[in-house]
Amino acid sequence: MPRINEKVSYWMLVLPALTIMVCFYILPVLGIWEIAFTEPETGLGNFVKMAESNAVKTSFVITFRVAAITTVGCLILGYIVAYAISNFASRLTPLMVALVILPFWVSVLIRSFSWIVLLGRSGLVNDALIHAGMIERPLRLMHNELGVLIAMIHVMLPFAVLPMLTNMRGISGIYVQAARSLGASEWTSFRQVYFPQTLPGVLSGALLVFVLSLGFFVTPALLGGGRVLMISEYITYQIQEFLNWGLGSALSVALLVATALVLLISARFVNLRATLLERK
């Protein structure tokens, strides 16, 4: 009897947050599914239209390509930083960690604005290159995929570094030392002994960056200038310009399903619990 009573009081703590999450978040998101199947008329019309549209296909291809390149870029750059922080102890290590975390606290909007200032037609990079006499006419550095990718990698990089850091901190140096003392070169011991141990961290980082990039809106919208239409921007375009709620919602459903599929597939390789529920 007291055990059951106790459980009830613990649920009393859980329920307020859970209830408002279900009522005001889960239900509204499910409402999008309803719109996709009912507006303007009940049926699969929106999904048929979506499947037939070349613009939608292009947008999905762009979305996955940008997300994939961003992920690879973040992993390579992030790995180098995480490796240096975890393996070369020096007085500057705390500073390195602080500088990696700092951009995290600066809003995505401001970071994107900085890149507009740098990469624009008369931005600082073009100005500097023209002044130096290296180019005659400004280069197109933004309002194309290049600009979006540069800014996306910049925004997503901390998401890749942090799980890799957590992982590398838990790796004992003994194994690499053993490999080295048995005659392996620094490079071989890294490749065959150290790197495999860091794979869980790499995959966690990859999953985080890829999933967040798939649905990213702010940076692609600002740096893409309407020329790099990722799905999120395409959805707002359908709804704000054409008031086409049916197609916009169908696209949202497709994006949700794509995200869910990525998570389900990656669950085979990545510890989702450690990546999402128990991250630091």
């Binding site: 459980k7 009081s9 613990y10 649920w11 009393m12 703590l13 859980v14 947050a17 859970l18 999450m21 005001f24 978040y25 889960i26 998101v29 409402g31 999008i32 750059l77 992030g78 180098i80 930083v81 490796y83 240096a84 393996n87 390195m96 602080a98 500088l99 975390i101 700092l102 951009p103 606290w105 600066v106 809003s107 995505v108 909007l109 970071r111 994107s112 604005f113 900085s114 507009i116 200032v117 740098l118 008369s122 600082l124 990089l157 901390p158 620094e186 490079w187 999933v211 798939l214 649905g215 809106f217 702010v218 999120s232 959805i235 709804i239 916009g248 949202s252 994006l255 995200t259 529920l277």
Partner: protein, 257 residues
């Protein structure tokens, strides 16, 4: 020990990547002191006109104030709800609690535009469009995952025998939670509070969908500024925000050491 090429590669590579992370953010600093009326480096000399513009413009100041107070309300609500939630789940530690924890972090996984569409349609039904209550509710939902994750992380090191001892000595469940578990969770609650504030303070996509003219937040002003005409006032605002972030980080680092 001799310095190998391998080591040099990772060492210099790491600093280059950190430069790529940090330096671009700092370009707003020289821009904010420009004496021109467009975005560019200072021509003749430094000028504070764009700071003066920010501090004398009721729109910018009003939006800043809205973002601050909405952020504080959101952080308070999310911290209270999220802490209770994480503590309850920590006590239960069963399958149902695990499912509940996954439900609570869905806002991290759902793309911002998709959830904002959901908010918009639902808020229209509830009459919450373009109201502060509507924004606070939406932001609280988006902040809850961060609070529950950080409170839960703080509780993983708590010895389960401590609340048991309190219970066996006659404390009620609520007394135990309040006197034993909450103090242990305090660092996590503090982190969660800060996270929740930042989530609300920086949130843009939701605000674009569920507000019109009545509610203006700082991110919305910056967004509209970037879209319409690029006015150097944005650079002044950005510089102020970055300076505040640096200050807060420095205080945090100093307090820890």
């Amino acid at each position: 020990m001799q310095v190998s090429a391998f080591r040099i590669f990772f060492q210099t590579g790491a600093w280059l990547v950190i430069a790529f992370l940090v330096l671009p953010i700092l370009v707003v600093l020289p821009i904010s002191f420009t004496d021109t009326s467009y975005i560019g480096l200072p021509k003749e000399g430094l000028s504070l006109q764009h700071y003066a513009n920010y501090f004398s413009d009721p729109d910018w100041l009003g939006a800043t104030w809205t973002s601050v107070w909405v952020g504080l309300v959101v952080a308070t609500c999310a911290s209270a709800l999220g802490t209770a939630f994480a503590i309850g789940c920590w006590f239960l530690s069963d399958r149902a609690a695990m499912v509940a924890r996954w439900v609570l972090i869905t806002p991290i996984l759902v793309p911002p535009v998709v959830q904002s569409l959901g908010f918009y349609r639902f808020w229209v039904k509830l009459g919450l469009i373009d109201t502060h209550v509507g924004v606070i509710l939406a932001h609280t939902l988006l902040a809850l995952p961060y609070v529950s994750i950080s409170v839960f992380a703080a509780l993983t090191n708590l010895d389960r025998n401590l609340p048991r001892a309190a219970r066996s000595l006659g404390a009620s469940v609520m007394q135990t939670v309040w006197a034993v578990v909450v103090p242990a969770a305090r660092p996590g609650i503090a982190t969660g509070f800060i996270f929740a504030f930042i989530v609300s303070f920086d949130e843009i996509v939701g605000v674009l969908f569920i507000t019109v003219r009545n509610v203006q937040t700082l991110p919305k002003m910056i967004w509209e500024g970037i879209q319409d005409n690029i006015d150097p006032t944005i650079a002044a605002v950005a510089t102020l925000l970055i300076a505040l972030t640096l200050l807060a980080t420095a205080i945090g680092v100093l307090r820890r050491s």
